[in-house]
């Protein structure tokens, strides 16, 4: 039967389906984990309330944890206590976003391609609920930033 740390380690292998380089642990949505007689309970914190990826992530958590030796039952719950916000993203998560071409949340992003600070917001509303669209005036690339929440 796995302990809490082993479950958490396994969840490093579950990724945000819209940002496949970012694990849900680094995204900061894994809250409490409890293990009791082969039953594992995982508490997740929903990100943006309209995010359609939440259901997929819950399902991926379920099958990942169920595959661990000694696990007989998995329960995944969502809770708004505490409320998730973008400061819960780990340093490794911020670097993963950057490498994927998405500037991590914060003020005035540097261009993830050329590093220039000559960037401006093109639209607060991007291709997913959590991203805004920016434009880099130096290298003339559009890029995205995860919205601060």
């Amino acid at each position: 039967m796995p302990n809490e740390a082993e479950v958490r380690h396994a969840l490093q292998g579950v990724h945000d389906p819209e940002i496949p380089v970012l694990s849900i642990v680094d995204l900061g949505i894994v809250d409490e984990i409890a293990v009791c007689d082969g039953k594992v309970m995982v508490g997740l914190l929903p990100t943006f309330s309209g995010c359609p990826a939440l259901g997929f992530m819950a399902e991926a958590v379920r099958s990942r944890v169920a595959a661990l030796p000694g696990v007989t039952e998995v329960e995944v719950t969502f809770s708004l206590d505490p409320v998730w916000n973008t400061s819960r993203i780990s340093e490794r998560g911020r670097l993963a976003l950057q490498s994927f071409g998405i500037a991590p949340p914060g003020t005035a992003p540097a261009c993830p391609y050329c590093g220039s600070n000559a960037t401006r917001v093109a639209s607060a509303f991007g291709p997913t609920r959590c991203r805004s669209v920016y434009y880099c005036d130096a290298c003339h690339n559009p890029f995205e930033q995860m919205k601060a929440l």
Partner: protein
């Protein structure tokens, strides 16, 4: 989400009614927002209104979840299974989208009303409202910013844009009292410690905030206290059309699992 612990059946019914009025506003306006997708004047605005729709519908879903937790029907049945006479949304949000200026003005005015309403939740004795306020208000900041940007753009966009915006504000003003209409059960929510004051008491502050926001552009907002009472089930024929469209797929097989 847990809500209503220790409340008697009567108080739970009052709370259901309150939450349902707010959820209906979000649901109906969210649907109107979605109608802009592929029709907005800029592709960025197709995406923006679609994103805003997604937020409002998600907020409606969270609120309908509270209604269910208080002993009401499931979110899907509440969203798709009711006729117009059962809907408690303000008439303002069911009006057809009209021109771009009307949609911008309506959303801006609605978002400021929503801001005042959800600010009340921060002081609620119910933990569920405090948690919802924290989540929803962080998302709504982007809506308010979007609205301010467009009010400014239209107000300074030449004669026709400014004229259309003023005309839109006049139409919105005529419907806006419904958002804060005094309702019989409000006092009970305050006495139970769920809200710090009756939502209808926010009316004056609401009007002042809108007026202060549009005055710098030479625009006016002059609301009346008349207009149909959507809060009491008095709706326009356009709401029936909206509900028919929105619930069409669900009604084809209400028991289907998607």
């Amino acid at each position: 989400m847990e809500i209503g612990r220790g409340l008697d059946a009567g108080m739970r019914a009052v709370l259901r009614e309150y939450v349902r009025t707010l959820a209906d506003d979000e649901l109906v306006l969210g649907h109107r927002d979605s109608e802009w997708c592929a029709f907005a004047p800029l592709i960025e605005e197709d995406v923006a209104f679609a994103s805003i729709a997604q937020d409002e519908l998600a907020h409606a879903q969270l609120l309908f979840g509270l209604v269910e937790a208080l002993g009401g029907k499931s979110p899907d049945v509440l969203a798709f299974g009711r006729g117009p006479e059962m809907m408690r949304n303000a008439v303002l949000v069911e009006r057809p989208n009209g021109d771009w200026a009307y949609s911008v003005a309506r959303h801006f005015v609605y978002d400021l009303a929503d801001d005042l309403r959800t600010a009340q939740w921060l002081q609620s004795g119910e933990g569920a409202f405090r948690a919802l306020a924290e989540r929803i208000r962080r998302e709504e900041r982007y809506h308010l910013e979007h609205g301010r940007t467009w009010i400014q753009a239209l107000a300074s966009g030449g004669h026709e844009a400014a004229m259309r915006l003023q005309h839109a504000l006049d139409r919105v003003a005529a419907d806006s009292f419904d958002l804060f209409r005094p309702l019989a059960w409000e006092g009970a929510l305050v006495r139970a410690g769920i809200l710090p004051e009756e939502p209808s008491h926010l009316w004056g502050r609401f009007v002042t905030r809108i007026q202060e926001a549009v005055r710098p552009y030479g625009l006016t907002f002059t609301p009346s206290r008349s207009g149909p009472s959507g809060r009491e089930g008095d709706h326009t024929p356009e709401l029936r059309q909206l509900l028919d469209t929105m619930g069409e797929v669900w009604r084809s097989d209400p028991k289907a699992v998607w």
